[in-house]
Structure formats: C-alpha cells, structure tokens
C-alpha cells in the first residue's frame, strides 16, 4: 500500500523527468540550433524550436500518455496481457473512417477540426460500440467473446479498407497509408488540440477515479462481486473512458503501435499492479517513451523521417523482453 503523499512525490518526480526529457528532445533535431538564438527569439532558431519541435513533442506526450494508460486499463478489463488499445477494432475502425473521408474527398473542416480527424474519431468509437454490442451476446463482459469479436471486426474492416484501396486514386492511398503507419505532425490546429486534450483528460480522469475499483476487479469477477464492486456497472464506464482516450490519440496521430502494450507491462513490472499508481505512471512513462522515440525517428536518418512506430518497436521490444525475463512474477493472477 502506498500513501497518497508517496504517490504525489512519485508523480512529481515523473512530471519533472518528463519536462526534462521534453526539453532535451526539443534541443535535438536535424538542424543545430543555438541556445542563445532560442532564448533571444532569433529566427529561424526560435521558430524551429517553438513552432516545429515543441508542438510535435507535445503531441508525442499526449498520444504516448493516452495510449499507455488506456492499454493498462484494457489489459485489466479484458483480463488479457496481450490486450492493447487497438485490440477491440479501434485501429481498423479509425482507418476505415479516414479512408471514407479521403475517398469522399472531404476537404472541409468544421471550425478547424478536419474531416479526417473527425472521421477517425467517429470510426474508432463506432467500432468499439459495435464490438461491445457483439461481445454482449457472448454473455460475459470482458470475456474472450469480446476479444474475439474485436479480432473479427478488425479483420473484416481491414478487408473493407483493402477493397476501398482498389478504388482509390494514388494520391488518396498515400494519405491513408501515411495515416495507418502513424505519424506525429508539427502541424495540429488549436481546436483539435483543445478537443483532444479535453477528451483524453476526461477519459483519464474517469479511469483514475475508477482505479480503486479496477484494483478489485483485477482479483477476478467473483472476488470483485463479493467485495461490493459490480463488474457489469464498472465495465462499461471504464471501457468507454479507455476508448475515448484511445480514439483521441488515434485521431491525432494515426496508429502508433506497441506503446500501449509494452509501456503498461513495463510499468506494472516496476511499480506493481496498483492502478492508483499504475495509471499516472503509465501516462508519464508513455509520454516520455514516445517523446524520445519520436526524437530518434526524427534524427536517425538525416532528413528522412522514419515512422515513429519503427522506433517504438525497435527500442521498446528488446528492453521489454529483458525486463520481463529479469522481473517476471505473476502479476496477472495467472502469470504472464
């Protein structure tokens, strides 16, 4: 058991660490900047620092935090260590949304909210609802039925995406592929920022509020029931909150794999399964991880920016395996 004081101290450390990481990452890039130029606001140094690097890092922070914390929640809700934010069809649902927006030639934007982001968001949420509805027929919330429904819907929608690809023009395919690979852009409109931060913040807040109940749920449904937690009531709220988080991330950056899987597991191995501690730590670690991974992606091959997913898998995978071998201990009730 940790005290709230201890927790606050840890979070304080984490936020400090995150700020340091972001600052360091912002000073690294394909063009050398002079520190003096940044401070004095000299162009182009200040311009590159404030208008190119910082917005992109902020995006990495938001997306990394959202993916990692929603991944942690999906793992406990579905009681499956392989669960990740995209497992319930969000990836292909959002992909389909973007594909439709691109195919229909929606160039419009609502305020500054672009059609593509909006369609990605709607696609992601609608697919989750569909999976939820199908999973409901299998009787048990959070059981294997829901995961299977997610897998099948994913495959089905991917096939629809392939079908639509055959109809699309070359330029349209480019846009969609770009999006499916995941990208962090320096160019995100203010309104999108506000909406996403609000949605992600709301989702995260709800999950944090539910974290004591999630702790109990991780003991198993029967146990939880005897301790006064009704899984049928907890499940939909947590599920919607986690989906909100993921959908917000997906509409901002496309599909960035691996963060939602390895960060929660690493954090769980280090800090233990208490969700009151796990969730904030996941958010902080996910943010730092994606910020650093994106910086590596920006500079690894000069002037040819790699998709950040390549780096998250290359750097995160081996480290995670190492951690798993050294720290292995059954924390899921059944063992990893």
């Amino acid at each position: 058991m940790i005290t709230s004081r201890q927790l606050l101290k840890e979070i304080g450390f984490g936020v400090g660490g995150l700020a340091a990481v972001v600052l360091l990452c912002a000073l690294i890039g394909s063009e050398p900047l002079s520190l003096e130029g940044i401070v004095k606001g000299r162009q182009p140094d200040a311009q590159i620092f404030f208008q190119v690097r910082l917005p992109r890092l902020m995006l990495a922070v938001l997306v990394g935090a959202a993916l990692a914390s929603s991944g942690a929640v999906f793992q406990v809700l579905l009681r499956n260590p392989l669960a990740e934010p995209y497992i319930l069809g969000i990836s292909s649902g959002a992909g389909l949304g973007v594909m439709l927006a691109v195919l229909a030639g929606f160039q419009w934007s609502w305020g500054e909210l672009s059609a593509q982001s909006l369609f990605a968001f709607i696609g992601a949420l609608a697919t989750t609802a569909l999976v939820w509805w199908i999973g409901g027929f299998t009787g048990r919330t959070g059981g294997p039925g829901m995961i299977l429904a997610g897998v099948v819907v994913n495959v089905f929608f991917s096939a629809v995406i392939m079908l639509l690809t055959a109809l699309a023009k070359a330029g349209q395919i480019q846009t969609t592929l770009f999006w499916l690979m995941g990208f962090l852009s320096s160019y995100t409109e203010m309104k999108i920022w506000v909406v996403s931060v609000f949605l992600a913040g709301a989702g995260f807040g709800i999950l944090l509020w539910l974290s004591p109940q999630l702790n109990i749920l991780s003991l198993g449904t029967a146990q939880a029931r005897s301790l006064g937690v009704v899984p049928e009531r907890l499940f939909p709220i947590a599920f919607i909150a986690a989906s909100l988080l993921t959908s917000a991330a997906v509409s901002l950056s496309g599909l960035i794999g691996f963060v939602g899987l390895i960060v929660p597991h690493s954090v769980r191995l280090i800090f233990g399964p208490d969700h009151r501690r796990l969730l904030p730590m996941c958010a902080l670690f996910g943010a730092m991880f994606l910020a650093i991974a994106d910086t590596i992606a920006r500079i690894l091959i000069p002037q040819a920016q790699l998709p950040v997913g390549v780096i998250t898998a290359l750097a995160g995978g081996p480290f995670f395996l190492l951690l798993m071998i050294r720290q292995s201990k059954p924390v899921y009730g059944g063992g990893l």
């Binding site: 050398p32 130029g37 311009q47 070359a170 730092m288 991974a293 500079i299």
Partner: protein
C-alpha cells in the same frame, strides 16, 4: 512488489537517452547546439524547391542565385547538388526548410507537401503550391512561379521553348504507328494509363497509349489485360546507365513469358532515363525525343537522354 523501482526507471530512460544520443552521433549531424546557421543576405528573394522538377524549372527561369535550398532528389542540373538539401520529395524536413530562412517555398500539392506548406504558412513563410500532372498544368505552374518571382518574361519564353520542342516531334512516330506501353512497375504490373502526360506526349508524336483504361492514372494490369494491350513497344525507366544494361537483361527475361505481345516477339523493349521520363519539367522535349527514338528505332536500342 517493486524492487528498486528507481534504479529500473533510471536504467530504462538512461538506455533510451543513450540510444538517442548514439543516434545523434551516428547521424553525424544535428548536434545539440550549433552556430547560428545562416548568415543573413541582402537578397529579398530566397527560394526553396521541394521537388526535382520544380528545381529544374527554377534553374530554367534563371533563378539559381535566388535558390537557398532544394529537395535531396534534385540532381539536375548538376549545380543543384551544391545547395542545401531540405529533405526528400516524399518526406520534406520542415526544420531544414526553416533553417535557410526562405521567403518563398515552392511545393507540389500532395498530402505531405500540403501539410508542410500549411505549417510553413503558419510560421510566416510564403509558399507557392503547384500541381503538375499534365502538360497544361506544367505551363500553368511555370507561369505561376514566374509571376511569384518577377520573371514572367523568362516564364513565357520557357513555356514557348518547351511547346516548340514538343511540336518539333509532332507526328514523328506516326509512320511507326505503334501502340506504346509504359510499364511503371512490373510486379504487380502497372502501366501509365490514359489520363497521363505520357498519353499526351504519345499523341503529339502520333502514337497511341496501349492502355486505354481511364479509371486510374496508373492502372494495375492483370496478365490477361497485359496480353490484350497488344503493345508494339514497351518502355521502362532506369536511374543510371549502369542500371540500363541490368534492367534490359532482366526485362527480357521477365517479358519472355508474354510471347503473344508484338513488343516481346520483336524485342522492342526500351529503357529510358527515369529522371527524364518521370519528371514533368523543362526537359520534356528530351523525354519526347527518347520516346520517339524508342518507338521508331528498328533495332533494340535505348532511348538516349540528351
């Protein structure tokens, strides 16, 4: 539960930051702090080109003194190599563009470049977006660039030069009267379709595109459709003359399975310089020359650039 969480935390991020610094060192550039990158120049016009054909247009307009950065694939004219590279055509690097403090960035219209243009505009940098998919659009783009750089006269001259250059080949392949296929990709087979500048070039020369499908610009072809085109000449592109020989050899092996096509039976498979054929720019008459040479040469011969 947690065993030394702090140590693990530190080691994890130590490792990541180590990786990041290693990447900085390995990439050999972008070290943390540098000097102020660009000395200011009195010139008011500082142009960046984000595509190789745009670079060629800028040079042809005599604007080489105003260029401060080009895309890394800008290799023509050879002097283009000496300018600062600002990322590839597919993946422009916004930092590199901003670091040369351009007053005008010329871009193409597809997603990556359009995104970049939006960001640059936001950063207070003037951009000029041109779409170049047809010969008319090429003329329009030259005119637009001419207007933006105050070189309208050279622009009109250049347009006339290109148009005259193309006109010189009008009907030159008519006697050869052949169906021509530009295979842009072998596996899966993909060729230049009807709505491309390739068709425009062929029609001026008096030949026809063997692919008449109009749904896609560069349609995929099944083997059956490929046989049905009945192409008399197959054109492929290669990057350098070394590649030409190799590609020629591999093309002969590849196409030998399509015995029914006249081009294959008569060995009319032609390799053309890819920069020439793929770039819609001032060197279009040379591309035209290469195509006409391909169509009308009785012998198996390469379309010679220049």
């Amino acid at each position: 539960m947690a065993r030394n969480p702090f140590t693990i935390w530190v080691s994890f991020f130590g490792l990541l930051i180590g990786l990041m610094l290693a990447a900085v060192l390995l990439s050999g550039r972008g070290w943390l702090f540098g000097e102020a990158p660009v000395p200011s120049r009195p010139d008011s016009l500082r142009i960046v080109s984000l595509a190789p054909n745009l670079t060629e247009i800028l040079f042809a307009l005599g604007l080489q003194d105003k260029i401060v950065g080009v895309s890394s694939d800008s290799n023509f004219p050879p002097q283009a190599a000496q300018y600062k590279k600002v990322g590839s055509f597919w993946n422009p690097d916004v930092e590199a563009v901003l670091s040369v403090r351009p007053s005008l960035v010329v871009t193409l219209g597809f997603a990556q470049q359009a995104n970049l243009a939006a960001l640059l505009e936001k950063a207070g940098c003037q951009t000029l977006q041109v779409d170049i998919d047809t010969i008319d659009q090429l003329y329009g783009a030259i005119r637009k660039i001419g207007r933006a750089t105050g070189s309208q006269e050279s622009a009109e001259r250049l347009i006339k030069e290109i148009a005259d250059g193309l006109e010189a080949y009008r009907g030159r392949a008519a006697d050869c009267g052949r169906k021509v296929l530009w295979v842009v990709q072998r596996q899966p087979l993909r060729a230049a379709g009807k709505n491309t500048y390739f068709t425009e070039l062929l029609e001026t020369a008096g030949a026809v595109n063997a692919v008449q499908s109009a749904v896609f610009q560069y349609p995929p072809l099944s083997e059956e459709q490929f046989l049905l085109t009945g192409a008399d000449v197959i054109i492929e592109t290669a990057d350098s003359s070394d590649d030409w020989q190799r590609q020629k050899a591999s093309a002969e092996i590849f196409y030998s399975r399509f015995k029914g096509i006249p081009a294959v039976e008569q060995g009319r498979i032609c390799i053309v310089d890819s920069d020439l054929l793929c770039r819609l720019g001032p060197r279009l008459p040379l591309a035209m020359e290469a195509i006409v040479n391909c169509i009308c040469s009785q012998k198996l011969e390469q379309g010679k650039p220049q």
